[in-house]
């Protein structure tokens, strides 16, 4: 301090260097960070991801509400994956015509017993019902009641291997995304087949969607077709959200 009570430039520089060093060390955080593609925005996303993983309790539960709190809930994004002439759309139309009796959730990758679960198979596994807030990146939010099987139970039924790091999921509307094991094994991460006490309506992702309650809405993908457990980070190709310019981790 060169003058009483004044902040000296030397102090500012010293603090700045300390902070830069701390930030650099922080970015060396030992967990796998998704690639930045040289994009400054993706570097910021990674800082958010690392900070959330470091600062926030990994087992913290998103707030749950009562059924009386259920609100109006718009169906946005894809509302009918059967529209269009892609092979996925054609398959979806055929499955829907048979009321999803032939629908299967394929679970493969780093699991001991790759398999395909029917809706009845999933409903035989333990179920969880939760009333949670869906927070859309657009700025709106809504409360809904979701019933489904914890993702953890499905992964354990398929014999998830200890090397597993990520769970990738793909859907009948063509989207692909993934989450890390912190979110995948979280008790509120469920594969929901029910909404507001009934079967999951098609505009909301029927017959099965994932709920990732501690991330922004688009991570809770609708119309699930396939899960793949991986031991490396995978951007999901052109159908991956990150390829189209969206943050891979979006807890903010």
């Amino acid at each position: 301090m060169n003058q009483r009570g004044r902040i000296s430039r030397r102090q500012v520089i010293a603090a700045g260097l300390t902070l830069a060093g701390g930030a650099a060390a922080y970015l060396r955080w030992p967990g796998t960070l998704p690639p930045t593609y040289g994009n400054l925005l993706r570097m910021g996303d990674n800082l958010t991801y690392a900070a959330h993983r470091v600062l926030f309790s990994r087992n913290a539960l998103a707030r749950e509400y009562s059924v009386a709190d259920v609100t109006p809930f718009p169906a946005t994004g894809t509302y009918d994956p059967g529209l269009g002439d892609t092979p996925l759309a054609e398959t979806y139309r055929r499955l829907r015509a048979a009321e999803f009796a032939d629908w299967r959730l394929v679970v493969e990758g780093r699991v001991a017993r790759p398999q395909a679960f029917s809706l009845a198979d999933l409903k035989r596994l333990p179920s969880r019902t939760q009333v949670t807030r869906h927070t859309c990146e657009e700025g709106w939010s809504a409360i809904g009641q979701w019933t489904g099987v914890p993702l953890r139970a499905v992964l354990e039924a398929a014999g998830i291997l200890s090397t597993a790091r990520f769970v990738k999921y793909s859907a009948y509307d063509g989207w692909v995304d993934s989450i890390d094991m912190v979110d995948a094994l979280h008790p509120q991460t469920i594969l929901a087949y029910g909404m507001n006490g009934r079967d999951l309506p098609i505009p909301h992702g029927g017959p099965l969607r994932i709920r990732v309650e501690r991330q922004i809405g688009y991570k809770s993908m609708k119309f699930l077709a396939r899960l793949e457990v991986t031991d490396t980070w995978d951007d999901g190709g052109d159908a991956g959200h990150i390829r189209s310019g969206w943050a891979w981790y979006n807890g903010a």
Binding site: G5, A15, L19, V70, P74, C136, W140, P203, Q215
Partner: protein, 227 residues
């Protein structure tokens, strides 16, 4: 950075130019305020709302029929990146301001600043645009201290905390945030009005800098010397 936050914040608001009070709010619920910002205004591109079977009459759903304008993929990431780049130096400023006594000595109004006659005189001076000439730094006037303290200790912390309250990962870990602001959408609304307050502060601040002596003040802010 602050400008980046303001611009990206506006782009994010433009995607959903409706504000609400409480925990939730969306196109199917009434808005507290709806800004007539094109192109997502008015938000009428939905099918007729229908009730969820077995749910209270208020629980309806409708399907969006037109994809809205949306640049949030980069605007949100840019907003958060700029927030990081402001929060880290901001923490440094707080640490130094506390440890070096800058806040105590110069920023927090003293009881002598808050005395009736002093405030009255300052008010009259300000209303007559009789602005004290630039000193290039402290000591600050009573109004100045009140404004600076309000920004540093109230408006900016409220903006940061209300911003965090919009993050589902943050409210899972720190659910008291939702109670503090009265819900996710209330936090979003407060975040917006915090921004409005900050814009007002910056506008007045710039005017005062110019009126009191632009060159001296700018030297004071940057290199820390009067001459």
């Amino acid at each position: 950075m602050a400008l980046t936050l303001a611009v990206s914040g506006f782009l994010i608001l433009r995607v959903h130019p409706r504000l609400y009070w409480g925990e939730t709010g969306n196109d199917l619920t009434p808005a507290l305020i709806e800004f007539p910002i094109a192109p997502n205004y008015p938000s009428d591109s939905y099918t007729e709302p229908a009730r969820f079977a077995g749910m209270p009459a208020s629980a309806v759903t409708a399907t969006r029929t037109r994809e809205p304008w949306n640049q949030n993929g980069w605007a949100r990431s840019l907003h958060f990146l700029a927030a990081w780049l402001l929060i880290l130096p901001g923490l440094m400023y707080l640490t130094l301001g506390l440890s070096a006594g800058h806040f105590r000595r110069h920023l927090v109004p003293r009881s002598t600043d808050l005395a009736g006659p002093v405030l009255k005189r300052e008010l009259i001076d300000h209303l007559r645009f009789r602005i004290a000439p630039a000193t290039g730094g402290p000591a600050y006037g009573a109004f100045q201290k009140i404004a600076y303290s309000g920004v540093v200790f109230l408006v900016v912390p409220v903006i940061i905390l209300s911003g965090l309250t919009m993050a589902p990962a943050a409210t899972a870990a720190w659910p008291w945030l939702l109670d503090l602001f009265g819900g996710h959408q209330s936090a979003r609304t407060i975040h917006f009005f915090g921004f409005v307050g900050l814009v007002g502060f910056v506008a007045v601040h710039v005017v005062m800098v110019v009126l009191s002596g632009f060159g001296t003040q700018l030297r004071g802010m940057t290199i820390g010397r009067k001459e």
